[in-house]
């Protein structure tokens, strides 16, 4: 590859904490990776697993869900619900062959601009190491032409 691969991260940031953290990172002029495309949601609990799958299907290399720390949710327990979904989704995504680093849950309060910036930097680097996901071309469209070699070695009995 001649060009450096720039991962695309879709970030679902909660209105009350993490979006404000991103705002703070901006006003404080913190330099961090420009790879996250932030989408403001009212609560991390609003993030439907469909949003995550759709982002991955339509070209994102990773998805970050960011919300208030547990116990600090504007809606009391929206982030706890997000957490329940996230752990189950993570288990399902492993079965679907999506690497663990590609979907991350982050807690960042409104004062933690630096923390959010660091998390975005870290995620960008880990996705860069993993390489592009390119789900539609590499996974959905791929391999139908693949044919077996005529002679295959017989596997050892296990």
């Amino acid at each position: 590859m001649s060009e450096k691969f720039e991962p695309v991260i879709v970030g679902f940031l909660c209105n009350w904490c993490s979006y404000r953290a991103a705002d703070l990172a901006g006003t404080a002029r913190i330099k961090y990776a420009p790879n996250m495309r932030p989408i403001r949601v009212m609560c991390s609990g609003r993030v439907d697993p469909q949003f995550v799958l759709k982002a991955l299907r339509e070209g994102a290399d990773g998805v970050m869900i960011a919300g208030c720390h547990p116990g600090e949710c504007h809606y009391v327990n929206g982030n706890i619900k997000a957490m329940r979904r996230f752990y189950l989704l993570k288990k399902m995504l492993t079965q679907l062959g999506v690497e663990e680093e590609r979907v991350q849950l982050v807690w960042a309060s409104a004062s933690e601009g630096i923390l959010l910036a660091e998390k975005v930097d870290q995620m960008t680097e880990s996705l860069r190491a993993l390489g592009p996901l390119n789900w539609d071309e590499e996974v959905v469209q791929c391999c139908n032409e693949y044919e077996f070699a005529e002679t295959l070695p017989v596997l050892e009995e296990t």
Binding site: Q50, L53, R57, L89, L96, V154
Partner: protein, 336 residues
């Protein structure tokens, strides 16, 4: 008397249960015979592919297609029947959204071949022979259709007019759909808009289910063999994964009524793109672990413990809808 409309039914990657469900409309099958001429129906009548090829285009009025698209032959026949039919109906869950055959999308073609032809304990194949699409023998070349890596639903290869979900569709739903088409043909009543999902209701299976429901707080999930469900009580509340909340009704909640959690065969609710993701969301919201007053590590531990009791989320939530899900298949490397 004018010529009767023509009916075809063809199977691709399926179990044959859809054909049985058509015959299961009992004596009404005589009414079907009265209205339609059978033009192609390998399960019950002897027609060949060349007969279909000889028909003029749109000769067949109604083609009920059941089965997913698993190999080259399936796709070829789908194109042929589409060309020869006025109405193409994706009949049953396999044609509509992949169903059980599409669970193979969680693995690879190579792994399937290894299991079926090489590593199966009941297999005697010392030379490791596997099917090839083309083989030279003394008499010439022998060919078989290529086996695809990814199972597709019918509408991923041809244009589909109507969808009739279910594994298999319920007899009264089949009859209702046949009636709509027959009365459109004979009396000119309007047909549902193209692309409609027919023979279903617009509410979730839970709405059709009579089991007693209260608040759901689950601290462990059970696989069907691990628990004898209490009669009359919502199965999900008892920790049995029941797809009712994320599945379209129309079946009359047959499975939950007899103590087996809904499998999800009628597909996603109207407006939902991905049934598995919605089910995941519904299941996660009844997990009774974690409280906002807890430390993060404790939260994680408690939630993870409950999640661990769900053995196979992808296979469970996408049991019928893998081919039509957002991700469509798993990413697999090599033979895993």
């Amino acid at each position: 008397m004018a010529e009767k409309p023509k009916l075809a039914m063809y199977w691709s990657s399926s179990c044959g249960g859809c054909e049985i469900s058509v015959l299961n409309i009992h004596e009404k099958i005589l009414a079907v015979d009265e209205v339609f001429d059978i033009a192609f129906f390998p399960c019950i009548a002897d027609f060949k592919k060349k007969d279909v090829e000889a028909y003029p285009d749109e000769h067949i009025t109604l083609c009920l297609w059941n089965g997913a698209i698993r190999n080259e032959e399936n796709e070829e026949m789908a194109h042929l029947l589409r060309q020869k039919s006025q109405f193409m109906v994706a009949f049953g869950s396999c044609a509509y959204e992949g169903c059980i055959p599409a669970l193979a999308n969680l693995t690879s073609k190579e792994a399937i071949y290894n299991t079926v032809y090489r590593n199966n304990p009941t297999l005697d194949n010392p030379e490791g022979i596997i099917p090839l699409t083309s083989v030279q023998v003394a008499e010439g070349e022998l060919t078989i259709p290529a086996f695809y890596h990814t199972v597709k639903s019918l509408d991923q290869v041809v244009d589909v007019d109507y969808y009739l979900p279910g594994c298999p569709p319920e007899p009264e739903q089949i009859w209702a759909v046949l009636q709509i088409i027959v009365s459109a043909l004979l009396e000119g009543t309007p047909l549902p808009p193209k692309g409609s999902i027919v023979g279903v209701s617009d509410v979730a299976v839970c709405e059709e289910c009579d089991l007693k429901k209260s608040e759901k707080v689950i601290s462990r999930f059970y696989r069907p063999y691990e628990i004898i469900p209490e009669a009359g009580v919502c199965l999900l509340e008892q920790g049995i994964v029941c797809m009712g909340p994320a599945t379209r009704g129309g079946c009359g909640a047959l499975c939950p009524t007899v103590g087996m959690g809904c499998r999800g065969c009628y597909g996603p609710m109207p407006g939902v793109e991905d049934q598995g993701a919605k089910m995941l969301s519904a299941i996660a919201s009844v997990i009774g672990a974690g409280h906002e007053s807890m430390e993060e590590s404790q939260l994680e531990e408690e939630i993870q413990a409950v999640v661990d009791t769900i053995a196979d989320p992808a296979g469970t939530f996408y049991r019928f809808s893998m081919a039509n899900s957002l991700l469509k298949r798993a990413k697999v490397n090599g033979s895993n």
